[in-house]
Amino acid sequence: MTKMRWLASLFAAAALASFSAAGSQAHPLRIGVTLNPYYSWVANVGGSAVTVVPVVPSGADPHSYQPRPEDLAALTSLDAVVMNGLGHDAFLEPMLEAAGKSDLRRLDLNRGVPLLPGASSGANSHSFLSVLAASQQVQTLAKELASLDPQDARLFEENARAYTKRLRHLLAEALARLEGLDLSAVRIATVHDGYAYLFSDLGLTVRAVVQPRHGLEPSARQLADTIERIRAARVNVLFTEMALDHRTVEAIERETGCRLFRLTHMAGGDDTADRFERDTKANLEAIVAGVTAAAGRR
C-alpha cells in the first residue's frame, strides 16, 4: 500500500496532463478490463459502441503486475471496469483507491456463475476458461453494458448472442471428437486448478492438480516430488502450461511415462478481440489430443 500511495502522488500529475476529459460519459463507453479474456468479450459484445481499455498493459502478466502512474491515470477515463472479483485481479481495488476512483462501477461478471472450488481454498477464479461459464458471463456483460448505454441495448444483445454461439460451436466440435472414445482408463492431471471449468464443459474429471507457483519453474527437488506423486496417482495424461520449460516437460514424460499437453492460461500477452476464441480453440484441441492419446494407450 505504501507503494500504491507513492504511485498515487505520481499519478496526480500524470492524470492532469493526460485526461482533461476524465470521467466523461460520452459515447462510446470506455470500459476497463483486468484480464485478457475480458478484452475479447467486451470488444465482441460492445462493438463500435464501446472502447476497451486494458487496466493491465498489453503483454503484462496479471499475476505479477505492478501498476505504473500512467496505468492509474487511465482509470480516470473509464465509465466502468470489468472485473473477476475472485482474486484474479486483486490489484484492481488498490489501483482504484489510489486513482481516486473507488466509486467506479464494477461489472462483476462472476455474479451468478456456479463457481467451482479452488485447489486450496475458496472459489476457483478461472471461470473465464470455460466455454459455458464464459457464455453466461458474456450475457451478463451485455446486460451490464445495456444498463450503461440503453440506446445500444439491442446491439449488445445481438452481439452477445452471435459471440456465444461461436464459442459454443468450438465446444460442440471438441465434444464430437471425444464421442466414441472409451474414457474409463483416462486419468487426467493438470498443473493448475484453473482448468477445472473447461474440463467440466467436456465431462472430464481432473484426478490431480500439480500446482507449482504460477510462472515459476520447479526446483529439482520439487520436480522429483511431482514425478513421484504423478506415479502414485497413476495419471496417464498431464496438461501443463505453455510457459513450462521443455526440459521439465521432458523429464516428467521420461520418468512417469505420462504424456504432457499444453494449455494456455490466457494470462498476459496481447489483447485482441479474437484472442479468447483462438486460445479456447487451442485449449480444446489440446485436451482432445491428450485425452485421445490417453484413451488409446490403455
Partner: protein, 201 residues
C-alpha cells in the same frame, strides 16, 4: 509443487430464507446435497467476502451451468416471438442443455419438457430411470409495479421484470406443481433480472 487429489467438501446449512420453503424441503435438501457430492453451500450472496461455490459436481454441475446459459436466450426468444420457445426450438438454437451435441455424454439423456402458462414457463429435464438428478428451470415475467422506473437498471430493461429459478430433485420423474419444495425439489438459485442472483452460485 504439491498435488491436490480432491477438494475438501463441507456442507453448510441453508439460510432462513430457504428454510421458509418448509421443513420437508430442508430435509430433502440435506439428502440431495449428500447424494450430489456437495461441495460448499453459502447462502450469503454475491456480497460475501468468500464467494460460495457450486453445490454440484460432474454432469450435474455441467447441466446447471448450461441451464444458466440458456436463461437469457430463452427470454430473448420469448421477447422476439411472444411465446415461450419449445424445447425443439432451443435445440435448433444450439443451446445446451436442450441441444445434446453441446453436452458431454454423461450429461445427456434427461427428457426435456416445456410447460408454458402465460407469463411463466417451466423447462424440466426429467429422469425416467429415477437414478439421476432432474432439473427444473422456472422462468417468469413479473410485474414492474412498485419498481423505480427511473433507475438506470430499469431504464435499460424495457418490458416486464424477468426472473428465473433452478431446482433439482434426485430421481425426479414428473414436472412439479406451483410449489416444487413441497414435492421435494431443492432450489439451487433464484435469479432476478433487476437485482441479480440470490442463493448459491
Amino acid at each position: 509443487m504439491r498435488i491436490v487429489e480432491e477438494a475438501v467438501r463441507t456442507v453448510r446449512p441453508p439460510s432462513a430464507a430457504r428454510e421458509a420453503a418448509g421443513a420437508g424441503a430442508a430435509v430433502a435438501a440435506v439428502l440431495i446435497a449428500g447424494a450430489l457430492r456437495v461441495l460448499t453451500l453459502d447462502r450469503s450472496g454475491a456480497s460475501s467476502a468468500a464467494p460460495a461455490t457450486s453445490v454440484l459436481a460432474g454432469a450435474d454441475q455441467t447441466l446447471y451451468q448450461a441451464l444458466l446459459v440458456s436463461v437469457d436466450a430463452i427470454f430473448g426468444l420469448r421477447r422476439r416471438t411472444g411465446a415461450w420457445p419449445e424445447v425443439a426450438a432451443l435445440a435448433r438454437e444450439e443451446l445446451p442443455p436442450f441441444a445434446p451435441a453441446l453436452l458431454p455424454r454423461e450429461a445427456r439423456g434427461l427428457d426435456w419438457k416445456r410447460r408454458a402458462d402465460g407469463a411463466s414457463a417451466d423447462y424440466a429435464g426429467l429422469d425416467s430411470t429415477g437414478r439421476r438428478t432432474a432439473f427444473l428451470l422456472r422462468l417468469s415475467e413479473k410485474s414492474t409495479a412498485g419498481l423505480d422506473q427511473s433507475s438506470p437498471a430499469r431504464a435499460a430493461r424495457a418490458g416486464p421484470r424477468l426472473a428465473a429459478e433452478v431446482w433439482i430433485l434426485k430421481g425426479g420423474r414428473a414436472l412439479p406443481g406451483a410449489f416444487p419444495a413441497a414435492e421435494g425439489w431443492y432450489q439451487l438459485v433464484a435469479l432476478d433480472g433487476e437485482t441479480g442472483p440470490s442463493g448459491p452460485r
